[in-house]
Amino acid sequence: MVSKPTRERLGALVSGLLESAAFVFTEIVEDKPWASGDILGARVTLEHGERAELSLCLPSDLAPELAANLLALESDSEEARSSAGDAVGELANMLAGTLAVEVFGRDVVCKIGVPRVAPEAAADHDHHFGLAVCHVALQTDNGQRVDAALAVVPAETGRGS
């Protein structure tokens, strides 16, 4: 890994992406265990010699709003609900593209995996969040939490792949 992003840099990338792509405004907040509620997590691998995994986790009920904003739909529409997971995966994919250049450099081809999106248990989430080489917690202006983390994973065994 050429350079590990700082918590502030990762937070700025996530915040900028959510604002520009999904019109959701966030700010960095203190890390703390995920209190309650369903979590939806998207994971994307980045590989160039070393293999890293980016995760983007947020409350399940925020996902349809992100899909609606990405696609200009009503947030309570069936299409927004059915596209929610795909939208979170796509946001993670966009974040991975930017992060790949920052982590591995502009002059290499970093292989970015297909996003894997799945519900997560709060305890599992907090455990893996804690193991990451870089992680950041953000909060939307509606008080919903969004976490992003970058972890180094063994080459053949990306979690969940």
Binding site: L71, A72, S83, D86, V109
Partner: protein, 132 residues
């Protein structure tokens, strides 16, 4: 005049985003075909005249890079411009894809103005705008 467009991405969200950006940017795209991977895209290309292709890189079964390579080898398809729409954007990656035959690169997330600019550069080089 409308343009016949093919959008290739395994994510229905991205296909929707590209389709919407084309509409917002004032480009008359009709019909707009969709495919979930390179193989499906080739099936569409073999059965329909397409003016421009917007394709992702990472897709199951056949990637965007493989699609560009195959199109470059096929006489009729080699002239159909392919715009890569991807979150991957290292300089080396962009150069590789252009060497394979991709005509332009659009980094996600993108604004409608960006897709219009790329569209015009690819289909109407040398002109600032098109009839849209």
């Amino acid at each position: 005049m409308s343009y016949r467009v093919l959008i290739v991405d395994d994510s229905s969200v991205v296909r929707h985003m590209v389709r919407r950006a084309l509409t917002i940017s004032g480009i008359e795209a009709d019909p707009v075909f969709e495919a979930g991977n390179g193989r499906e895209a080739l099936a569409v290309l073999h059965g329909n005249w397409i003016d421009i292709v917007f394709a992702d890189i990472n897709m199951p079964l056949m990637s965007g890079a493989e699609l560009v390579e195959v199109m470059a080898r096929e006489g009729m398809l080699s002239a159909t411009p392919v715009v890569i729409v991807s979150s991957e954007h290292s300089e080396k990656r962009v150069q590789e894809l252009k060497q394979l035959g991709a005509r332009a690169f659009l980094v996600k997330p993108f604004r409608p103005e960006a897709i219009r600019q790329v569209f015009c550069e690819v289909l109407h080089p040398g002109k600032e705008t098109h009839h849209g």
